[in-house]
């Protein structure tokens, strides 16, 4: 597993852009927002620990579903809980997209 966040490739040519270019940081921020929503609005930062902010399996189920809808990547349950922070979950999404 890669340990450093990657920046997704910007589309430099005339091809259609499916979604706005996303940096690793902003993806981590977006993941943190999904967590926040599924944790009843509680503030979540990209480096927060899932369990420290009150995460449970019931919120994890919602989060994995939401991320699958939003990003087209269904994370494995084990990888999700072992990742534990929005930043590392964002990396998993990046890897999932790269593999797709």
């Amino acid at each position: 597993m890669e340990s450093t966040p990657r920046v997704s490739h910007q589309n430099g040519g005339g091809g259609t852009i499916a979604e706005p270019p996303v940096t690793a940081d902003s993806l981590a921020r977006a993941v943190a927002d999904v967590w926040s929503e599924c944790l009843g609005g509680r503030e979540v930062a990209p480096e927060d620990d899932f369990f420290a902010v009150g995460g449970s399996s019931l919120s994890g189920i919602k989060i994995i579903d939401r991320l699958a809808e939003d990003y087209g990547v269904r994370l494995s349950v084990r990888a999700f809980y072992l990742a534990q922070t929005p930043t590392r979950v964002a990396e998993l999404i990046e890897q999932g997209r790269a593999a797709a």
Binding site: G55, S56, R78, Y81, L82
Partner: protein, 413 residues
């Protein structure tokens, strides 16, 4: 955990840590509980970080805490692992629900698990148990504790509606719930292990229900019954089905293996009792009760005080967490004379509270009792003697008393 205590020793109850997992893998919890029953029947402990809980250890107090939901609610969680964090499944998961909703759902699910209902499964259960004992007949070392983890799945899998290909995985997941930091079961941190296990078990049940609904099939299994049950004129919600299905899988898998191994261990330590049971099969039902008392696989359950409550010579403040130590209640000398003596002919063994007490009394108790009876009938018919073939290894858990390894050698009769 160690089931035969060593000699009583001086224990400083002000500093004892009941959540210290080493106490259960390498220590001697019964000597601690002995001291608590004698000197601090209401015990208070503050954990590093500030979480606190009260403990009751006497039989009478344990029954009161588990028996009266008006004083002690289940709706904020019942497992000490989650002390201090209110249960997100409160009011939906049956074990975290108080009457009157509890009564409705309990009645609906329980109809399929009464002594009369489970009696029809007797022959199938006997076949599964005979199959389980088969490999021990060749006289090689048989790791009873390790193998017994799969025993409930072999017995209850077909009754619950779980296909054989899924048993091993589900047994692994339920073991992760009971001992998330045991080297056999942990994945990353304790929190991660618990969340992975909860998540995958809930997803398993949800997926099972989805497939069953899509196919329109029904097999009369317990999970099928859960899907079709009505409680208070309405079917259970999908969330209730997933949570209670999870709870049933957990209850089925994580306790009886330890009662089996712990009781066999006691019979090896007391060959005269083994011989006695072998000579008189009519003693087996009482052997089962004594084995349940002796092993107390579910070590404790937690409740929260609704108001300030006087108990055990002290007061639990409103909203305080209280842990009812079943393992201790079952060794209370006021209820069980010579409590640390394993005696298959014990009078009053049936008063044991290994299945809990009150509204949340184990819903699977009739099935467990019948399965244990058949297990010991078949064991005693097949083997002339049993011996240890190595040291036991204890489960790293403060709420399930059990072993991960118990190597034995059995001699064919």
């Amino acid at each position: 955990m160690r089931l035969t205590p060593g000699p009583d020793r001086d224990i400083d109850l002000d500093t004892v840590n009941l959540f210290d997992l080493d106490l259960y893998t390498a220590g001697d919890p019964h000597t601690v509980w002995n001291a608590m029953r004698a000197k601090a029947p209401l015990h208070h402990q503050v954990l590093p970080g500030g979480r606190e809980f009260w403990s009751v250890t006497r039989y009478e107090d344990v029954c009161r805490v588990l028996g009266d939901h008006r004083e002690f609610t289940s709706e904020r969680g019942t497992v000490p692992t989650h002390l201090g964090t209110d249960d997100v499944a409160a009011g939906k998961l049956l074990t975290s629900t108080d009457p009157p909703r509890h009564t409705q759902v309990r009645r609906a699910i329980g109809a399929k698990l009464t002594a009369r209902a489970v009696a029809t499964w007797q022959d199938r259960i006997r076949q599964a148990i005979v199959g389980f004992l088969e490999p021990a007949l060749d006289g090689e070392v048989f790791d009873l504790a390790e193998r017994a983890l799969l025993l409930p799945a072999m017995i209850t899998g077909p009754l619950l509606g779980i296909p054989e290909k899924d048993w091993a995985e589900l047994v692994q997941l339920t073991a992760m719930v009971t001992a998330p930091s045991d080297r056999h079961f942990c994945h990353g941190s304790e929190d991660a292990t618990l969340a992975i296990a909860h998540h995958e078990l809930l997803s398993y049940v949800t997926e099972w229900v989805k497939q069953r609904r899509a196919s329109g099939e029904a097999d009369g299994s317990v999970l099928d019954h859960l899907v079709n049950a009505t409680a208070g004129d309405a079917p259970l919600t999908d969330e209730e089905i997933a949570l209670d299905g999870y709870s049933i899988l957990l209850g089925a898998n994580v306790t009886t293996p330890h009662t089996v191994s712990g009781t066999v261990q006691a019979l090896i330590e007391h060959p005269e009792q083994f011989a006695r049971a072998q000579a008189d099969e009519s003693l087996i039902p009482n052997l089962v009760e004594e084995g349940l008392r002796w092993t107390s696989a579910a070590t404790n359950f937690m409740r929260y005080a609704v108001d300030d409550i006087e108990i055990g010579g002290g007061t639990i403040p409103a909203r305080g967490a209280v842990v009812a130590w079943i393992g201790s209640a079952n060794r209370d000398e006021l209820q069980f004379p010579d409590p640390h003596v394993f005696d298959i002919a014990r009078n009053g063994a049936k008063r044991q509270v290994a299945f809990g007490f009150g509204p949340h009394f184990c819903i699977g108790a009739p099935l467990a009792r019948m399965s244990l009876r058949i297990y010991f009938e078949e064991l005693l018919r097949r083997f002339s003697s049993l011996e240890f073939a190595g040291e036991p290894e204890h489960l790293r858990s403060f709420f399930i008393a059990g072993m991960t390894h118990l190597p034995i050698v059995a001699r064919k009769r």
